[in-house]
């Protein structure tokens, strides 16, 4: 237990000490504010979207489809291929931690990063509402919280896929490029064949919307949740299988 925590804290600190991640965090604060400000400024001229109570939810669509996936690629690149490239993976492996603990610590750190990013983005978007003078009421805030939690589940499934993918790469830039192409392809594929959407976690990035509706049946939510959970578990396990056999 002691070394579990040490590994997890270590990976978190390493993510934090890497400037990239901190810069990403700063952008996550700045971008929603800039968007809200420009919506607010352009709104009377263009009649563009107003910063309304649902601003955090409208923005969540952008966060989950672009921003957080980008974070996942970057963090996964740092956690796996980058460590292989700089030969620093052994530093974690030579500690009194099993491979499972090392792998678990890395994925847990990534999951924590995603959660932290969602919390950060949620708070900033809610703060934008405050400044726009359209403060969300209790019911709206509850819906927003629910949607952000649901998004975490879908982002986790996406992260599992890319953690698995990362095991095949020895350079972080190669992995980043491949991930972006793969993700874009996964986003376009449903336009060519409907069947793909049902099996691709990339098409579940906006599933939080299901949690906002009163008409969506519990069965639907359960099916979608099970899909995402099993997808996370499957790719997490496959990634572990690759990781445990890795020779450094």
């Amino acid at each position: 237990m002691h070394s579990w925590k040490a590994g997890y804290m270590g990976e978190l600190l390493l993510l934090w000490y890497r400037r990239k991640i901190a810069v990403f965090g700063i952008f996550s604060v700045v971008v929603p504010i800039l968007l809200a400000a420009s919506f607010h400024a352009l709104q009377p001229i263009l009649g563009f979207m107003a910063v309304s109570q649902s601003f955090p939810l409208t923005m969540l669509g952008i966060y989950t489809s672009v921003w957080i996936p980008l974070f996942i690629f970057m963090a996964a690149a740092d956690l796996f291929p980058q460590e292989v490239a700089s030969r620093t993976l052994k530093l974690a492996l030579l500690r009194p931690n099993s491979r499972f603990q090392v792998y678990g610590a890395k994925t847990a750190a990534l999951a924590t990063g995603i959660a932290a990013l969602l919390v950060l983005l949620g708070i900033v978007s809610l703060a934008c509402n405050l400044f726009a003078g359209t403060l969300a009421g209790f019911a709206e805030t509850a819906a927003i919280v629910k949607a952000y939690i649901a998004s975490f589940v879908s982002m986790l499934a996406l992260a599992a896929v890319f953690v698995f993918t990362a095991q095949f790469f020895k350079s972080s830039s190669g992995f980043m490029a491949f991930s972006i192409v793969l993700y874009a392809a996964a986003k376009i594929a449903p336009f060519l064949s409907s069947a793909v959407a049902a099996f691709s976690p990339a098409s579940y990035t906006d599933w939080y919307k299901l949690w906002l509706s009163q008409t969506v049946s519990a069965g639907k939510l359960t099916t979608a949740f099970l899909f995402l959970a099993s997808c996370s578990l499957l790719f997490f396990s496959l990634g572990y299988y690759k990781f445990v056999r890795k020779e450094v």
């Binding site: 979207m49 309304s52 409208t58 499972f100 906006d206 299901l210 008409t215 099916t223 099993s230 499957l234």
Partner: protein
């Protein structure tokens, strides 16, 4: 050691089975969206149908425009007949129409004149459709629409009735609409409600023009300029046991402020009932001895051009 591989193996096994099973069930299309799509496709194949439709536009609860009508349509023979009442700003206008061999006939309740639009030879000779390519096209369009709808398709609830019919309903509020729609819709609504100010108001009683004042409708709509947003979109439909849509309704609520800063909540309600599938015969009218006038081609657009 063996235990570790056993755990890993079963994790991979179980999760892939669950993933495939849930994926298949998502794809299998037990959703209301698919039921609706199938009924819509089926309804498109009918050769004739009778429609009862109603539309209502409200601003802050006050009825601006109320329109109702009924129609009989024979798709295969390309004939139709029907009538409509439109009440806007307290004035009621009625009209009836016939589309039959030889052209379309319009008649307003305000006069005894029958306005006739003869079909010219060019239009009549409709191109024989290339069925195969059309089918492929619509297949592709369907895939694209499916992809655009994405997870929203699960918003469509279906309620199976004991008589074999289905109730389909979907309701989306602002936060559930795609970000793109939320961003673009206000611009579109602003443009749409602005247009009528630029149009010169003709009292359409000119010769050859059908006496129907569209401007009355447009001017009744408040002009929204700020804080425009789509509050709610709701669609309901009933599908009968033979998989035809027999009732369809839609509600759209838009909120916003006009130039003076007054808040408006504009709602549009549309509904239609369909009946008499494949057994409806449109009424026809015999124009002999009636006051007939040829109608200009595009109503209200190119003034003074006689067609």
């Amino acid at each position: 050691m063996k235990k570790k591989w056993l755990v890993l193996g079963s994790a991979i096994g179980i999760s892939s089975v669950v993933m495939v099973a849930t994926g298949i069930s998502a794809m299998a299309g037990t959703s209301g969206y698919d039921a609706y799509k199938s009924a819509l496709k089926n309804t498109k194949t009918v050769s004739s149908v009778a429609i009862q439709a109603e539309a209502q536009l409200q601003d802050n609860g006050k009825v601006l425009v109320d329109a109702s009508g009924s129609a009989k349509v024979n798709v295969s023979a390309k004939t139709a007949s029907g009538s409509a009442d439109v009440t806007a700003d307290g004035t009621k206008q009625s009209l009836s129409f016939y589309k039959q061999a030889g052209g379309a006939v319009l008649k307003s309740s305000a006069s005894d004149v029958f306005y006739v639009k003869t079909q010219n030879a060019k239009e009549k000779r409709s191109k024989p459709k290339d069925d195969a390519s059309e089918q492929q096209m619509s297949q592709q369009a369907e895939t694209v629409i499916d992809a655009l709808v994405g997870n929203l398709k699960d918003y469509v609830a279906v309620n199976d009735q004991t008589d074999g019919s289905k109730e389909i309903s979907v309701q989306l509020d602002n936060s559930q609409l795609p970000a793109v729609v939320n961003a673009i819709a206000p611009i579109a609504i602003k443009q749409a409600t602005k247009e009528h100010k630029n149009e010169n108001r003709n009292s359409g009683e000119q010769a050859g023009e059908f006496p129907f004042q569209e401007n009355v409708i447009k001017s009744a709509v408040p002009q929204l300029t700020q804080d425009i947003k789509i509050e709610k979109v709701a669609v309901k439909a009933n599908i009968n046991a033979s998989n035809y849509i027999d009732h369809q309704e839609a509600d759209l609520t838009v909120s916003g402020k006009d130039d003076s800063g007054a808040a408006h909540q504009v709602t549009l309600h549309l509904q239609a009932d369909l009946s008499g599938y494949n057994s409806t015969t449109p009424d026809t009218i015999d124009l002999t001895g009636k006051n007939v006038q040829q109608i200009k081609r595009d109503i209200g657009k190119h003034h003074g051009e006689n067609g």
